[in-house]
């Protein structure tokens, strides 16, 4: 039995810049926790699963809620919410896979608070924004006391609810390259009630055709079927450079199963990976044409 109580005591820290936020984190070490929308963190604190001495909130840093396209890449600021993704004209075009994802993400009330960056940093194996962004080839700009670095999103996750951020490090921006022409992206979230539930299995596909039906490039990412979101490399290999057919897609979907290492319900999840990968590939093929 887990009791929900009022929030525990903490000192509220309101930095005005990302740099200041990262300095406080570096100085206070494990006593400090960063907060964006708070939809993961505040429930954890009410359950006493997290009891930070210092709560370092990004809400007072101006200018972090942007979603824009710049130098041929999508850029998402650390305070951009799921609702911002849902309503962004930049996303609605080439990055529609992210809009489709926002539509199956929690509730309207949560989407107005929850950030995309918080979803990635919380590092739930089922995090809905993770696999579509991996499929888009996203990278993260991190900044910390030692300076900045860039890391591919698929390398960011280290286990269930853990990530590769160092002491004092934070995510300063999410970036994704502009998809090439003839690209289609699909995210399928399999859950019990669709809304408000965590994904049982999530499959994201971003597929590029060469102008005909030949698969020029494809990225497939799976959520909730391994300790972290993962890429289905075998399935990608089976398709890249080959002509798309129903049989080729079925073969790739079968290969996708090898990437799944489910922590629970392994047989069911493996089966669903195969079914949903085939479905997502077929849909992405239609969109890309």
């Amino acid at each position: 039995m887990i009791f929900i109580r009022r929030l525990p005591q903490f000192d509220y820290v309101a930095p005005r810049t990302l740099w200041e936020a990262s300095s406080v984190l570096a100085e206070r070490k494990s006593e400090a926790v960063l907060m964006a929308g708070g939809t993961d963190l505040l429930p954890k604190m009410k359950k006493r699963e997290a009891t930070p001495r210092y709560l370092v909130s990004l809400k007072n840093v101006p200018g972090l809620a942007y979603i824009k396209e710049d130098k041929g890449a999508l850029k998402i600021g650390p305070m951009a919410t799921i609702h911002d993704v849902e309503s962004s004209p930049v996303i609605a075009g080439k990055y529609a896979i992210l809009r489709d994802t926002s539509l199956v993400f929690a509730s309207a009330q949560i989407r107005n608070l929850a950030t995309v960056t918080g979803n990635l940093c919380n590092a739930a194996p089922s995090a809905d924004m993770a696999s579509p962004l991996i499929a888009l080839g996203a990278t993260l700009s991190l900044s910390g006391p030692q300076g900045g670095r860039t890391i591919p999103l698929e390398k960011f996750f280290t286990g269930p609810f853990t990530n590769s951020l160092g002491e004092g490090e934070l995510v300063a921006e999410i970036q994704a390259p502009q998809p090439q022409p003839h690209t289609g992206g699909v995210y399928i979230k399999h859950s019990i009630r669709n809304a408000m539930d965590h994904a049982i299995v999530g499959v994201a596909v971003v597929l590029t055709l060469d102008g005909s039906d030949v698969c020029k490039d494809v990225r497939i990412a799976l959520g909730a079927c391994a300790p972290t979101p993962v890429r289905a490399a075998e399935a990608e290999k089976a398709l890249k450079g080959n002509k798309l057919t129903k049989a080729a897609i079925d073969k790739a979907a079968k290969a996708a199963v090898s990437a799944a290492q489910p922590r629970s319900d392994p047989e069911y999840k493996r089966e669903m990976v195969q079914v949903l990968t085939a479905r997502a590939l077929n849909q992405a093929w239609q969109i890309a044409r």
Partner: protein, 155 residues
């Protein structure tokens, strides 16, 4: 850590002295005495605590009161004006869209948030807008019908 915070709720400015760890829900109910906003789960699942922050629906149990300063807040008490109910409230009454009523304020605020952004929602959009609001009594259908009726009444 006690702090003075300034909140603008239903058009009225309030100054309260409270602990930084208090949620907006706790301050609305316990300091301002506005009991229309309900506490159900206290963790974002039920929607009973829904208020509008800057016109958008949020779970007030997941917002720190100190972070709701400088933004207009609307609770269920702020919807009726000059003794006249909001069209959503009218439509819910006309439709019998409640039984025990515990979920009603959150449901109405979620509907209000939707119509603020999208004055003519489809049935699917109306259903999606209240997906984060639990009701143990009704079958949800009457809320959806009520929302669409309110949207028509507004034009």
């Amino acid at each position: 850590m006690k702090q003075i915070i300034n909140l603008k709720v239903n058009g009225v400015a309030h100054q309260v002295e409270t602990d930084t760890r208090r949620t907006l829900l706790e301050v609305i109910r316990e300091h301002l005495g506005l009991m229309g906003t309900k506490k159900g789960c206290d963790e974002g699942d039920c929607g009973a605590c829904t208020v509008l922050l800057d016109g958008k629906p949020v779970n007030s149990c997941l917002v720190l009161a100190i972070e709701a300063q400088d933004k207009p807040i609307t609770t269920i008490e702020g919807l009726a004006s000059n003794g006249k109910l909001d069209p959503i409230q009218e439509a819910f009454v006309a439709n019998g869209a409640f039984q025990c009523g515990f979920c009603t304020p959150g449901m109405v605020m979620a509907a209000k948030g939707l119509l603020n952004e999208n004055p003519h929602p489809t049935q699917e959009e109306a259903t999606r807008a209240i997906a984060g609001n639990l009701c143990r009594c009704t079958g949800y259908l009457r809320f959806v019908e009520g929302i669409q009726q309110a949207a028509k009444a507004k034009v």
